[in-house]
């Protein structure tokens, strides 16, 4: 259905104004990205609604837009479970971390750990967690970008990765957090408009939501159909469903590029305001994924499954083509491209800040470097991370499994970053050994359980694929408790002076905002 060979010039026509706008914003932002606060945190001058849009822009990846629509198209209701988990996760972020991070942190999640724990090992632990999550997520997005742009625009996979990576680096290196934030806001607005137009279009053609369900069910297909209006098709093992649900709802609260966004607002009030803005936008978006997914089932039918590609990723663009022809397909393609650009920019920024702020400035230079040096290092780090991610994406090629790597990123975030952060902020006794044990155990157990999971091994459909007979596809239900357990054991089995005393300070700061970082003067 989608022309794969020929270059889609209509789509390129829509790319140009979008990309042009983001570049103008980047150059406008570049003079505000020269200080550390400007580069990492946009001078802490982002308002709550702006940050809400930017969180939505950071969070709603191509996996959300194309991936969930595709899963709903192929599997029906089970795809929608992702939408719900991704949204409910923001309650975890709001109640447990958002304001505390804003009050007690500066640029990275390591700041919060380093506050009360021994600084250098705490920063190493946090940097490991941040970089592991960012690396898997970033490579997944790059591969996704390459596959999609290749399919939709008709340019070569490697070239598509290079173009995506190139823009990402321009935004981050020239414009820092200011440019990245505005790229995310622009993308969020485009994505919301795109999915709204498409959903309304589907509804007008079908008549009503009930009619949409009825006709989707009628288009179920033959006896071997995977589609159902009820659960159990994509996730046939109940324990896997539960495990996935846990990783989704706790993982978001450990994603460094999302948590970093709370350092860009002036205070805790704006932090919680921005979470609620994000909840409204992200919730509306995920609600509409069912209209796109079921709409695709109605208009593409069971015979469109093959054309929708792996995981149904092309279901949404194919639906756009059926609804509005080449022009609407081109618009939706351009929106998908903007979606990927914004997410990868946010990820690179969070990874480069972990390297420059935590590893370079605090660990290697022991805080003796100048602010100017730190910003230069952050830009060099962004370049390095970007090049490595592009190289892995191109070498691994489209064979790298995108959903596997996104799952891994969420599993590590939930099992390593989330326990350490939550306990550092709330548990008086927590100490450095506990943090290191937790981050390492969470990261390694998530990686190990994913490597032995049946998804990765040949014969993926049968549980016999795993070499040790491991049957879970999603590691969360094991690795998250392991992460917490390691935090606990590491803490109670060792004694450390000072961690408990500096907890008084961290607690007062994080609960009240006393002494919190102020917005830069304009």
């Amino acid at each position: 259905m989608v022309p794969v060979a020929a270059v889609n010039t209509t789509a390129l026509l829509f790319f140009i104004p979008i990309v042009g706008l983001t570049l103008v914003v980047t150059f406008w932002a570049s003079r505000r990205a020269q200080t550390a606060t400007g580069f990492y945190a946009a001078g802490r001058g982002i308002t709550a609604p702006q940050n809400g849009f930017a969180i939505a822009g950071d969070y709603l990846s191509a996996a959300s837009f194309l991936g969930i629509a595709g899963l709903i198209y192929i599997y029906g209701f089970d795809g929608f479970l992702y939408s719900i988990g991704f949204l409910v996760a923001f309650l975890t972020v709001m109640f447990l971390l958002a304001e505390r991070m804003r009050n007690a942190g500066k640029f990275t999640i390591a700041d919060v750990l380093a506050f009360r724990l021994r600084e250098r090992p705490a920063r190493v632990a946090a940097a490991i967690g941040t970089l592991a999550v960012a690396a898997f997520y970033l490579i997944a997005q790059m591969v996704g970008a390459g596959v999609l742009i290749q399919a939709l625009v008709g340019i070569d996979f490697a070239l598509a990765v290079l173009i995506t990576g190139g823009f990402m680096l321009i935004y981050v290196i020239l414009g820092g957090m200011v440019a990245t934030t505005w790229v995310q806001i622009i993308k969020a607005v485009l994505l919301m408009i795109g999915i709204l137009v498409m959903s309304v279009w589907v509804l007008i053609k079908v008549g009503s939501p009930i009619e949409l369900f009825n006709r989707a069910e009628a288009n179920k297909g033959g006896a071997d159909s995977t589609f159902s209006l009820g659960p159990g098709t994509f996730l046939p093992k109940p324990i896997d469903t539960v495990s996935l649900g846990l990783a989704l709802v706790l993982g978001t609260a450990g994603l460094p590029h999302i948590l970093m966004r709370f350092f860009t607002v002036p205070n805790a009030k704006a932090a919680r305001g921005s979470v609620v803005w994000a909840m409204v936008l992200i919730g509306a978006f995920y609600l509409l994924t069912t209209f796109i997914g079921y709409g695709a089932r109605v208009f593409l039918g069971p015979e469109g499954v093959e054309a929708a590609g792996t995981g149904g990723n092309l279901a949404a663009p194919n639906l756009a083509e059926v609804l509005g022809g080449d022009v609407f397909l081109a618009i939706i393609t351009a929106v998908a491209f903007a979606t990927i650009l914004a997410v990868v920019a946010g990820l690179v920024l969070s990874a480069s800040s972990a390297i420059a702020h935590d590893v370079w400035s605090s660990i290697i230079r022991k805080g003796k470097d100048s602010e100017k040096e730190e910003v230069v290092v952050a830009k060099v780090a962004a370049l390095g991370i970007g090049i490595i991610a592009m190289a892995i994406a191109i070498i691994g090629g489209s064979g790298l499994n995108v959903s596997f790597m996104v799952g891994l990123a969420f599993a590590i975030a939930a099992s390593a970053n989330f326990p350490a952060l939550l306990l550092a902020l709330t548990w008086r006794r927590f100490n450095t050994t506990g943090a290191i044990a937790g981050v390492l155990t969470g990261t390694l157990s998530a990686i190990f359980l994913i490597i032995v999971s049946p998804k990765v091994w040949p014969g993926a459909d049968s549980v016999t694929g795993s070499p040790i007979g491991w049957e879970l596809s999603n590691p969360g239900i094991v690795s998250i408790p392991l992460g917490f357990l390691a935090c606990y054991l590491g803490t109670v089995l060792t004694t450390e002076r000072g961690a408990e005393r500096s907890f008084h300070e961290l607690r007062v700061r994080s609960e009240t905002g006393l002494g919190a970082e102020q917005a830069a003067a304009h």
Partner: protein, 135 residues
Amino acid sequence: MDASSNTLQEHEIVDWEAVERSPEFQALVSRKRRFVLGATIFFLVYFMAFILLCGYEPGFMGESVYEGLTVGYVLALTQFIMVWSLGFWYLRKADREFEPLEQKVIEEALAMTRGTSGAARTDAGDARVGTGSVR
């Protein structure tokens, strides 16, 4: 920014332990905890119950409520409503109830710090203070 009145200055030394012990801080934390802990337990239970139903009772979740509208979809919609309601409820509660309490703690702490400036220095660990101290 009116930097001096209600924000901590670089040179000011706060006795964090005393602030933590103060009745104002205890009042803030217990009020906040009551709401946040309750809400967190509620949404985790509500979400996990939904996930457990999806996992273990797919037949029930796939039953029709009205034509193609399934039990699962209706319960899914209640998850959206739950997220938005809790979000707005918390905003209201935080603005009206928690923030005034936070301001009281900050005022008390600054009064304590400025009234006994210098004397509050208890040891080196507590001296690590100021707007740029995280680094």
